[in-house]
Amino acid sequence: MKTLLFTITIILTISCASYAQDITFHGFIQSNISSRITGKETPDPSEGGDFLSGGDKIRAEVTGGSGDSDFALKADLVHDSISGNDEVNIREGYIDYRSTNYDLRIGRQIITWGIGDLLFINDIYPKNYSALFSGQPMEYLKTGSDAIKIASYSDTISTELVIIPFFEPYTLPDPKRFFMYSPMTIINSEKPRNELENTETALRLYRQIQGFDTTIYVYRGFYKTPGMRPASLTEAVLFYPHLSVYGFSVQGNFANGVLGIEGGYYDSRDDRNGDDFTTPNSATKYILGYSRQFWTDFTAGVQYYGEYMHQYNNYESSLPAGMPKTDNLHQLITLRLTQMLKYNTLRLSLFSFYSPDDKDCFIIPEIRYNITDSLWTEAGFNFFGGKDTMTFFGQFDKNDNLFATLRYEF
């Protein structure tokens, strides 16, 4: 990982020197804060208190190139006011090469696949749920992969092949800052080792059929959310089981709006019998989405998501007493409403998740205002609700928080 970054930095420096005439420099300065308003303080004193996030970011974006090749480097210098830490995050840093029918991108890059709106089936790329739950700008939900991407284009079918040699799991909320269901102390996290055989591969084939964007996806790698294996009565180890995904999506104009369907079969390769409760069972997942503009500058979108577990009987019988149990079919309904006002400078939006089986929800009302072309501010509320403290959103019930961001772009 470090070596790769070092290599990229070297190459970028050389590129900068040789393409000096085509360099562009942009970025932003941003302050963000999120405060829990439930009055509850987390048990861990080190990062406890009311604040879920707080700090400043300086983004530097350098791009350049000439002819068939170019590069981009997007780095965040981050000051975290809660932990007091400063760090540099390379958000993206890659080199592109383009030929007539092929594109090649090597380096750290953000890849987004699938048609879901905050719901992901075939997008198996790294995400940061901690950022989402603490009200950071939406782009921070996605994080970069150190990857090689080879794309080919033709009228018949276009493809994208992604090779990820270095595993990167999802960033999940940290019990230091979030109230959440964590019955055991995590003593270790066993990520897949950086070995050739652990290289993740993902393939996407796409074309238009009758005006619909039609895509097939194949992935071979690992679950990005960990399984938990007990090490003792109170301690556990996190690990990332093998996973393959076979999926598709179709999206196009329908009934005066946009209709999308996405599906995927999750093959849990380490637990095909479904009798190991520490490893997820194989499942079929689907999204049915529809969005439409109802009046000028107002758009509404709904999604219905389902996750059907295979080998449910084996799952039930292997589950130790007292462990939270998921339903055979886990469902979610989402709603997104967006109204633009004042020449698109003011945006009012609402996004909500609701699960009829888990009986929990996550609602994000948000307001954004572009003060000038280079300065914008955003404020909102993350509301978690649930009957049960062991369901996905329900466990965050005590973390309702208000957030605000101010960003100056240059």
Partner: protein, 264 residues
């Protein structure tokens, strides 16, 4: 026979048969010709566009984009727009496949998360990137969506014009539009939009017309919201027709990574 002719001349002189009646059937043809000249010139187009969004207070916002257009058959068109400025839209790209008679296909590329998003395109009267122009003002309105009537002849900026009234057949935020169309070039020199109370609320003007590759091009245009005092000025800093843009440019590949050759 002679008597009829004299009667006809008398009728014309007294205004009982006005040019409006004589031109009644021409109104649709004139609008059609005007749309061809305004929205379809050349086989393709490449332009660098600067939009100034100016509030009543004088506060200004800028939108700078490259616009590529290619004509298809039967009135179909493809548009590719790449945003250079301001910062919060920099690198965004917008692809539209426009069809006559059915909804457009629209895709938006959001660079911060490398996402190509298909977007609902039902309401073509929505504001184009926060300006006083709507999507339809940028890419054209279906000629059959309105009934067209020849009002009169007039002269503005020293140019003789056809004056046409277009009334939307279905509910739109304006109830009628009056257009001054240059008799020689068929460029719309001025449009006035009237609201449901019959009051003027928006005015379009073609402020600067140049000849580009032998074709008339409006290189500066303004849309004023008379009621709010907000206005948008659009300047085509560079514009070229028939430059040979390939069909492949209007694809997901170039949405995700703009075609350098055409964007600069």
């Amino acid at each position: 026979m002679k008597r009829y002719l004299i009667q006809l001349i008398l009728l014309l002189m007294t205004g009982l048969i006005s040019p409006a009646v004589l031109h009644a059937e021409d109104a649709v043809e004139i609008v059609k010709k005007s749309q061809e000249v305004f929205f379809y010139p050349g086989k393709d187009m490449q332009a660098r566009v600067k939009m100034s969004l100016i509030a009543k207070t004088g506060a200004q916002r800028l939108r700078e984009l490259t616009m590529l257009r290619k004509n298809g058959s039967g009135g179909d068109q493809k548009y590719f727009m790449y945003f250079h400025n301001p910062g919060d839209v920099r690198g965004m790209a917008f692809l539209v496949n426009k069809y006559s008679g059915k909804d457009d296909d629209r895709w938006l590329f959001i660079p911060s998360i490398n996402l190509v998003n298909r977007i609902a395109a039902r309401d073509s009267r929505s504001s184009f990137v926060g300006s006083d122009f709507t999507y339809e003002d940028v890419s054209g309105r279906d000629i059959d969506a309105d009934t067209h009537k020849y009002l009169k002849e007039d002269t503005i900026q020293g140019k003789p014009c056809h004056v046409i009234e277009s009334t939307p057949k279905s509910t739109t935020e304006y109830t009628r539009k009056v257009s001054w169309i240059d008799k020689t070039t068929y460029i719309p020199l001025k449009d006035e939009y009237y609201d449901i109370q019959g009051a003027l609320y928006k005015t379009f003007t073609a402020d600067k017309i140049e000849t580009v590759n032998g074709l008339p091009a409006v290189t500066k245009r303004t849309m004023v919201n008379v009621k709010s005092g907000h206005r948008t000025e659009v300047v085509f800093e560079s514009i070229a027709y028939n430059v040979g843009i390939g069909d492949d440019v209007f694809s997901e590949r170039y949405l995700r990574k703009p075609p350098e050759k055409w964007i600069k």
